[in-house]
Symmetry: C2
């Protein structure tokens, strides 16, 4: 069973997940990317036989996307948090959700190779899980992310996205939410709308721009060729997207992935959707994010994995990026 622990020096939660001990790099060389469809746990013949289905699309007939529980769960949906002090320290039960969104039936097709309609279906599946997981008032934040390629942490080649819902708002999303709220308190403007406006003035970092979405490399990108996709219209929550919005967003996402593939030769990458936290406070609690509709602005962050963080980055939290966003955007615009 997983456990959450909090220490007083760095003051953030750590997830202890004993089921994931088999994923050590050095001690278990048998954990390899599953290249063979016969043994791929996400291929239709295996997933239909084994895994409990959390969600599927479409509901009837042959499925196109399917959501199953992660085989190596970081968190478990059963139980109560039971927050407990341990001397100087704190712990809670590892309550949460860890799901895998199978993006396609086809073992060999990566996300970038799917059609806009197929990518829209993947995004609609993520939206459905986001809405459903928020009904659980123990869970405070839903992280939707993707690992593509083994250098980006993927253990399976079959294209998939993951969802982890946590009973707390994680450190980095919380920092973003707080900075955005502070900006709004002082300036009566959305921080991300201000960034969007600034990027439109200095278009050297813009990769692609249409009526609905802007794709750009941000000014202080910690990672080379980091790309953000953000709605041009102020919108705080990914759950609000209509099917029409999803199609336009899928178009921008496919475009960004194809540009990265063209420039960087199919790089390993991660993406993460940054959206509002759960809109429903726990019973009896105030809503810490009462102004979220005004001050936050959802977006997708795509990070090709081109550099290896080492001792300095780990010790300091400071990134060393060899490529300016202006250079990266120039390459990506021409692609």
């Amino acid at each position: 069973m997983s456990e959450l622990r909090w220490g007083p020096v760095d003051q953030q939660w750590v997830i202890f997940a004993p089921e994931r001990a088999g994923l050590f790099l050095t001690t278990t060389p048998d954990v390899r990317v599953a290249e063979d469809p016969a043994s791929c746990p996400l291929c239709p013949h295996n997933v239909e036989a084994a895994a409990k289905t959390i969600y599927r699309h479409p509901h009837d007939g042959e499925w196109q996307t399917r959501v199953v529980a992660n085989r190596y769960p970081a968190l478990h949906i059963e139980g109560d948090l039971q927050p407990t002090g341990v001397g100087l320290y704190d712990k809670m039960n590892g309550v949460g959700a860890h799901e895998v969104v199978i993006e396609t039936r086809d073992h060999a097709r990566p996300l970038a190779a799917l059609s806009v309609a197929e990518i829209s279906a993947v995004l609609a599946t993520c939206r459905a899980r986001l809405v459903d997981l928020r009904r659980d008032l123990r869970l405070r934040y839903v992280t939707i992310f993707k690992n593509h390629g083994s250098d980006a942490g993927a253990l399976l080649t079959h294209s998939h996205t993951q969802i982890i819902a946590t009973p707390f708002i994680p450190t980095l999303p919380r920092a973003e939410l707080t900075h955005a709220r502070d900006h709004f308190v002082h300036k009566e403007r959305c921080l991300f709308c201000d960034v969007l406006h600034q990027e439109e003035i200095h278009s050297k970092r813009v990769v692609r721009d249409d009526d609905a979405y802007i794709t750009f490399c941000r000014f202080a990108s910690p990672n080379p060729f980091e790309v953000w996709i953000m709605p041009r219209r102020h919108q705080h929550d990914f759950a609000l997207l209509t099917d029409g919005d999803l199609t336009l967003f899928a178009t921008a996402l496919k475009d960004a992935l194809l540009r990265l593939n063209a420039v960087l030769d199919d790089p390993p990458y991660n993406f993460a959707l940054k959206t509002a936290p759960s809109p429903n406070p726990r019973p009896g609690r105030p809503n810490d994010w009462a102004t979220i509709e005004l001050d936050y602005h959802w977006h997708l962050e795509i990070i090709p994995r081109l550099t290896r963080p080492a001792g300095f980055e780990w010790a300091t939290g400071i990134a060393i990026n060899p490529t300016t966003p202006e250079t990266a955007a120039d390459y990506l615009r021409r692609a």
Copy 2:
């Protein structure tokens, strides 16, 4: 030339270092760990011919440790900061230091294989560079860290430690310093002395304990088999260590590395020394850390690289650790 940039969303400095563009994982397959002494830039015959020496020990005769400039510097010692606003954003020149401490003349001997006297000489060299770099009032924090093994980010097998001095206190050290100061303000006690006391009560996480240093796996370790070495006596700054202190610390460090090697079969690892920031404020500025002697407590953090951070860890800042510190300490104690 390097540049520092600050964005309003995550609000931390990013180092842009164009000299490091050659270190991309995917685009430059020729960057490989230098296995061959003939081409090793840290071996005596090459380093004496090429690199400008920043420091050497002993001063005369055959050197035992030697400090040279990093070939791919993240920061440069020349110039002024010139902090500049760029619309919503901020930038400064990439002023700082990036040095390599060559730990031994011998290409093939890792740090754990050096004698206690040799490790003491490495630590004394780091202490000398720490003291010297602090004389430069532009620099606010000195990070001393090590990458061992390519999975830990090392590009060279020849054993070395690195030093990066920054004109700001990086995010994670600043958080630690702030948490320690807050603890002291409220409780009139050093946070780390409290942790030490707590670990002594619950000795399940203690690996080794002598009169001078405690070696332990902390309660909420983000990384499996993460080990801290901390002086038992309250001491805020590594620069204060006497040669006698260094010998005792070198003994504890060698012991910890040998235990990790025994349990994990020579794992890749990073370590980082967490010590007080520069004690001298910039001219005309208040000293933000006036109580540092009371509230901080230096220590060394050692992280074997056993898991690969992926999309979730990168997006949230939350670690998933498969191994409890109690289990890790139990293995390490028996080693």
